[in-house]
């Protein structure tokens, strides 16, 4: 009985520790809820059909932000198409094929470091390499390639971690049945790692969706007369739109600025919710086929 009570109440220091941890959790939660709540409360008034689906009028003071929404969407899709396959393949190589050793450790370390490079540096690199050297000009493609470079380390790292968490017993079982290395990866390892890879890729893309610095250097515009039709066109994007709304146009109604922020937030959160739904359908028990 004494034991039972002890376990439930804990020692004083344990109680204190638990209180501190709870407090910190609450602070973090409040910050997240507060941020989303602020954006929602201040921005919801601006959200009308015209705002979401209309073209901007008078530098965006009237009309809508559709071209920016559309541009961010295109940019993300293009970035994903470029960086997810590359990142997943690199992750597969580094975990399943490469021989452990100093070289591999060096490569993995470099990739981790790349994930920490400030985004403006990626922007400058994109400007120098994609826009000028490769001659892509200020364009959707140049910006997507730049964002792909920035997101690649995140995807590679997420893939590596997801693959490493697949039990070795699965691989051995497949090998022992005479499956080749690639068959094993494709039919056993990748399906088991899919959730981790998807989550990591979406986190990386979510970060890319909000980036302003790399796209300023490589192709975004504040106002364009028409929607981009080719990857070599310039484009509008929500993060840059928000930046200009907030800092460059004094007479801009603040509500419109928050409205644009709300749209961006919704876009990223939708992608995350979609990933979660996708994940719960593909249960670990693998009844998804």
């Amino acid at each position: 009985m004494f034991n039972q009570e002890w376990r439930e109440k804990g020692t004083p220091s344990e109680t204190l520790l638990r209180a501190v941890v709870l407090l910190i959790t609450m602070v973090a939660l409040t910050a997240a809820v507060g941020l989303i709540g602020t954006v929602f409360v201040r921005g919801i008034g601006a959200i009308t059909t015209e705002f979401v689906f209309g073209m901007p009028v008078n530098r965006g003071i009237d009309g809508g932000v559709f071209p920016a929404l559309y541009g961010t969407f295109l940019l993300l899709v293009l970035t994903a198409i470029i960086c997810v396959p590359l990142g997943v393949m690199a992750g597969i190589y580094l975990t399943e094929y490469a021989r452990p050793g100093r070289m591999l450790a060096l490569i993995n370390g470099s990739i981790l470091n790349l994930a920490g490079v400030p985004s403006i540096v990626y922007g400058l690199f994109g400007l120098a390499f994609f826009v000028l050297f490769l001659g892509l000009g200020s364009s959707l493609l140049a910006a997507a390639l730049t964002l792909a470079c920035m997101t690649l380390p995140v995807v590679v790292t997420a893939t590596r971690e997801a693959l490493l968490s697949v039990p070795q017993a699965y691989r051995e079982a497949a090998w022992a049945l005479g499956a080749t290395r690639w068959q094993t990866i494709y039919t056993v390892v990748l399906p088991a790692a899919r959730n981790g890879i998807t989550t990591g890729a979406l986190l990386g893309l979510g970060r890319a969706a909000g980036e302003t610095a790399p796209i300023i250097a490589t192709g975004v515009a504040f106002v364009l007369p028409r929607l981009p039709v080719s990857p070599l066109d310039r484009f509008m994007a929500l993060p840059y739109q928000i930046y200009v709304f907030a800092t460059q146009i004094p007479e801009m109604p603040k509500e419109r600025m928050w409205g644009a922020a709300l749209l961006l937030l919704t876009l990223v959160l939708t992608a995350n919710v979609a990933a979660t739904l996708l994940r719960s359908r593909a249960t670990p028990a693998g009844r998804n086929h």
Partner: protein, 289 residues
């Protein structure tokens, strides 16, 4: 630097860096000559040694395992019985830092000869692991995996193989009505029989079993043992076990390994009732291990 794992073989790198303790002749005087193939022996190890990061694990093991019989590899933890077992289907190749010398012959051919097709080898020499390791897929897909990996595609032919294999593993009656449910929903004993069925689906001539019942309760163990008794009519079984009673019950021949050396090999009744080596006697009477 990043090429696939390549195991150093005597052929390509002179003699590997193995410290071999030679104690006169091979302990059993069963010194297997490669040309003895074609006799009753199906698997022959000829002075097979293995080291891991320079540490010797197996020391010049020579043995001939008879066809269509059950051979038990016994010995205390760390004796190398599991590693030796994995030498027969080259599963050790996937570990980094492994060096091997000597040979293992299957049906007269050196399975460590350069150019050996591992996938082909492993369809003929199957393996069941210590912990049941079904894929996180359906029961059907688990059993169909091996044939599928070898190019069988028709749903009907796969279904035939699945039914036959599950029947051979004495699992059909328990799962025939839920072939599409997840293999992870089965009990531990059922999962292990599923893994046996999965191995049988590619029609191996040899089945290697690495302590297949050590994670199971007595009832499930009993069923696995009955199954092994059944299987040996068509398949050569090699089973590593630390359970001496089990070895005594199910095996025809017993090999006793100690610290990487083959101490004694003979018929199970001889090894258990009249061991030639005092160390064997000490082990089976429970004085160590």
């Amino acid at each position: 630097m990043l090429e696939d794992a390549i195991v150093s073989r005597p052929e390509d790198a002179g003699r590997p860096e193995i410290v071999v303790e030679v104690r006169g002749k091979s302990p059993t005087s069963q010194g297997a000559a490669p040309d003895a193939a074609g006799s009753q022996a199906e698997l022959i190890a000829d002075r097979f040694s293995l080291s891991f990061d320079g540490r010797p694990i197996l020391k010049e093991i020579s043995i001939q395992l008879p066809r269509h019989s059950v051979t038990a590899l016994i010995g205390p933890s760390g004796s190398g019985k599991s590693t030796f077992l994995r030498g027969f289907n080259r599963m050790n190749d996937h570990l980094h830092g492994v060096a091997m010398s000597g040979s293992i012959y299957f049906e007269g051919k050196d399975i460590y000869a350069p150019g050996t097709d591992l996938a082909e080898l492993r369809t003929q020499i199957g393996m069941v692991f210590q912990r049941p390791n079904p894929f996180p897929k359906s029961i059907f897909d688990n059993v169909a995996y091996g044939p599928w990996a070898h190019g069988v595609r028709g749903r009907r032919s796969l279904a035939q193989i699945v039914e036959r294999s599950l029947r051979r593993a004495a699992l059909w009656d328990e799962v025939s009505d839920r072939l599409n449910s997840s293999a992870l929903e089965l009990s531990g004993g059922q999962q292990q029989r599923l893994c046996i069925a999965r191995s049988l689906a590619v029609d191996p001539a040899v089945l290697l079993m690495d302590e297949p019942a050590s994670a199971l309760d007595p009832g499930a163990t009993q069923r696995i043992e009955d199954l092994i008794e059944e299987l040996k009519r068509e398949v050569t079984v090699v089973i590593a076990t630390h359970n001496l009673q089990q070895a005594g019950r199910i095996s025809d021949h017993t090999a006793f390994l100690l610290a990487g050396e083959l101490i004694e090999f003979g018929s199970t009744s001889q090894v258990f009732t009249a061991p030639r080596d005092p160390r064997t006697n000490e082990y089976i009477t429970g004085r160590f291990g």
